[in-house]
Amino acid sequence: MTTETPKGARVIFERPELLADRSTHYCPGCGHGVVHRLIAEVLGDLGLGARTIAVAPVGCAVFAYDYIGVDFVEAPHGRAPAVATGIRRVRPDAFVLTYQGDGDLAAIGTAEIIHAAGRGELLTAVFVNNGIYGMTGGQMAPTTLLGQRSTSSPGGREAAFHGYPIPMTEMLAIMPGVAYAARGSVVDAAAIGRTKQYLRRACEIQLEGRGFAIVEVISNCPVGWGMTPTESIERLRDVVAKEYRPGVIVDRTREA
């Protein structure tokens, strides 16, 4: 359904052109929807829609290609950075973006993200960290916090038994091939605004040919967390954001 502007009125906010006007399969309150919108806004603002080739993960966001109006390749679980590398190398003039969840990027896809970053591939990587395996029913992810319950850590995550949460973006940030690494969140409109700025910068860096850029977005999974959307946002703000602190982690384009 398209919305025509009431006569005389100014549009303050509307759906970005690259975001499909349709209902998503995401659960109520799921942060993927917000991140999708931000990507659509940034690609639109930078006029990249026509030359973007995006890579969808295996995760709830596998259907990103149904909502964001650019060319997409569906990668096997965790392999998006390798798939994107292949695209990057044969399509020098394409804008290449990857979208991955935390299970996809920080578990099965660990080797691929680290080596794409290590090679300094000109890619913009979006990493939606909701600390859980959403699509498969709320199992523990490498990013799940200590003490957090999941369907595969029913008693809560214990360091001694399940291991520690993995600070993936911080690890990536120490590699010289990584030009930019930042962490945003979807806790409120202000945080969402900052996240958009990070995403924009991560895209510009690819356009400038500066190197690999990644934006982690800490997000919510109300269903996987067993909470209402509102409760999940509160937890994201009060608990998750304390462990995974938002901000720019490294920006080698600013360094001397």
Partner: protein, 186 residues
């Protein structure tokens, strides 16, 4: 002889639970039974469904060419599953959310205000339990006592707090299903 029932509606309407209650009741009535969901990735708002097959010998095929009965709780489910009910079969329609009818005249079609009954009992999820009550009242696929026993067995341990409401809603649906039967008689 095998009797298959399809439960379908919104993800949040408690269909899988209702199907399990029926399955448990059938098992405890020394029948053979199979419960199978149409499982999918985590998507709310989508249509969910499960099938329960009750029989006297171990259940063979988990899929049926035509269902003995169907319980449809939202409009998409009516459209999708009403055609799959065998002629002479029973169709329980959640009249609260569904205005249309199946359009079939070879079915025993019940319009039951399931959502309202459930909401009145204070829990949307119980919409399926109301429908289950109507189905049991109408068809006697299993005895009502088997259902209440199953509810006690399942909820008694995990959610005793919920038990009473479930029982009440079931009774309501049951009475509704029987009432219909009565009006049908003459």
């Amino acid at each position: 002889m095998e009797r298959s029932v399809i439960f379908a509606g919104f993800g949040g309407q408690g269909l899988l639970f209702a199907g399990q209650v029926l399955a448990r009741a059938a098992m405890d009535s020394d029948r053979e039974v199979l419960w199978i969901p149409t499982y999918g990735p985590e998507m709310r708002g989508g249509t969910a469904a499960c099938t329960v097959i009750v029989g006297d010998v171990p259940i063979g095929s988990p899929v049926v060419d035509a269902a003995w009965a169907a319980v449809v709780l939202n409009p998409p489910s009516l459209a999708k599953f009403a055609p799959l009910v065998a002629p002479g079969g029973t169709l329980v329609v959640n009249a609260t959310l569904i205005e249309a009818g199946s359009g079939r005249d070879d079915l025993d079609e019940l319009r039951v205000p399931c959502t309202r009954l459930a909401r009145e009992a204070g829990d949307d999820r119980l919409v399926s339990v109301a429908a289950l009550g109507a189905l049991v009242g109408r068809t006697g696929i299993v005895g009502p006592d088997a259902i209440t026993a199953a509810l006690r067995a399942i909820l008694g341990r995990k959610h005793p707090e919920a038990l009473e409401a479930d029982l009440a809603v079931f009774e309501g649906g049951l009475a509704f299903g029987r009432a219909v039967l009565a009006t049908a008689t003459p």
